[in-house]
């Protein structure tokens, strides 16, 4: 493995040649906001929060999948990017029903945190107020579609880590929805191992432990990376 040197927000950064801009930035202490990205899962570059400007490239690039290259000059927090990020967060808030005050994840929600970081004191776009259901059929967990931002972390963790592939995204566009099995009640899907990883990685209050009430969901999605590291170490051990 060799090293690449690049510049991120005026800082010289050395990083592994197979690193992404996001990894290089984090190593250097530069925080780029993310939502769909989660260490341990394949990247999908769907939320567009981590878009950055790279000198010499007309298009904005998602830091989560853009590999570093020698001499790259990256800007992660220009006024243009900050305006884009606020709009992304507003689009998410207005397309669902994110009522923080009565959410299990209130105070421990990545979406809520991002909103503060991008300076969203109100949404400049009108709220859509979609009519979305809640699935409480699983004995231990619940799914509130009102709070789902379609980051697909649950789909990926169930497929890539647990191997059960209970979840998938169904339908299209604004009608996209996470489904279990054949769009069945979650509790009716045999493939579910009740492992709870989907709940663990969910950035909002969309997936939750039954019995948790307002503000009581305290998940730490970064536990996934720790789990995978431990698993990897075990497999590598002689």
């Amino acid at each position: 493995m060799s090293v690449r040197t690049l510049r991120i927000d005026g800082r010289d950064v050395a990083s592994a040649d197979d690193a992404t801009v996001l990894e290089a930035a984090r190593d250097a202490g530069v925080v780029i906001p993310t939502l769909c990205h989660l260490e341990g899962l394949s990247p999908v570059a769907a939320c567009r929060l981590c878009l950055v400007e790279i000198e010499g490239s007309a298009k904005l690039q998602p830091a989560c999948i853009t590999p570093v290259s020698e001499g790259m000059v990256v800007h992660t927090a220009t006024p243009r990017l900050q305006e884009i990020r606020r709009t992304v967060i507003e689009l998410l808030f207005t397309e669902g029903n994110h009522v923080c005050a009565v959410c299990v994840a209130n105070g421990h929600c990545e979406l809520q945190d991002r909103a503060v970081e991008v300076g969203m004191d109100h949404a400049r776009l009108p709220y859509r107020f979609p009519d979305r259901p809640v699935d409480l059929s699983h004995p231990r967990f619940g799914l509130d579609h009102n709070r789902c931002i379609l980051c697909s972390r649950c789909v990926r963790v169930c497929d890539e880590v647990e191997g059960a592939h209970v979840w998938d995204v169904a339908w299209r566009g604004e009608h996209c929805r996470i489904i279990a099995g054949l769009d069945q009640p979650w509790g009716a899907v045999d493939a579910c191992t009740d492992c709870g990883k989907c709940v663990m990685v969910c950035p909002t209050g969309a997936l939750f432990h039954k019995g948790d009430s307002e503000g009581e969901k305290h998940e730490d999605p970064s536990r996934l990376a720790a789990l995978l590291r431990a698993r990897h170490a075990r497999q590598e051990a002689p």
């Binding site: 923080c100 005050a101 945190d113 949404a123 709220y127 979609p130 503000g215």
Partner: protein, 188 residues
Amino acid sequence: MSLAAKLPKLRLATVWLAGCSGCHMSFLDLDEWLIELAPRIEMVFSPIASDTKTYPEAVDVALVEGGVGNSDNLALIYQVRQRSRLLVSFGDCAITANVPGLRNPLAGPAAVLDRSYLELADGSAQWPHAPGLVPELLERVLPVHELVPVDLFLPGCPPPAERIRAVLDALLRGEQPLMEGPEMIRFG
């Protein structure tokens, strides 16, 4: 005499639309600071501190709690906008429709009334109907800024007392409050 007393008093109003009055309760949570505040303001309209029933002219700052959910709310918010220099959306309901807005996914007022007064009724199920007395529900509960221009957003459900104080402090000094960071703009 203190310096504050010499300055012209800020004409303050607080308004209660479709909300639970929790933001007003949080305002009362300012406790002894209210005593400091009292000489610096003139409370010209408020459900908790004034008997005035008509919204007065020439208000300096209006803290508006609640979304706009019925015909009374609608009439009042236009009046508030017209007669106030600085309109503050006070709390999540005014900014996002929040909990009152939970009715919005239902298909309009009829569905809401059916659900509330017929389906969930224990006995004598009927719609409340008293024209001129019970205000008509609007199609949806809307955030204030979707109807009239808003000058400042003060999120929170309710906004913590310290957040309210930070905002009022700045306004009393004639400054624009700095609305950023988790202390100032976290929803919920």
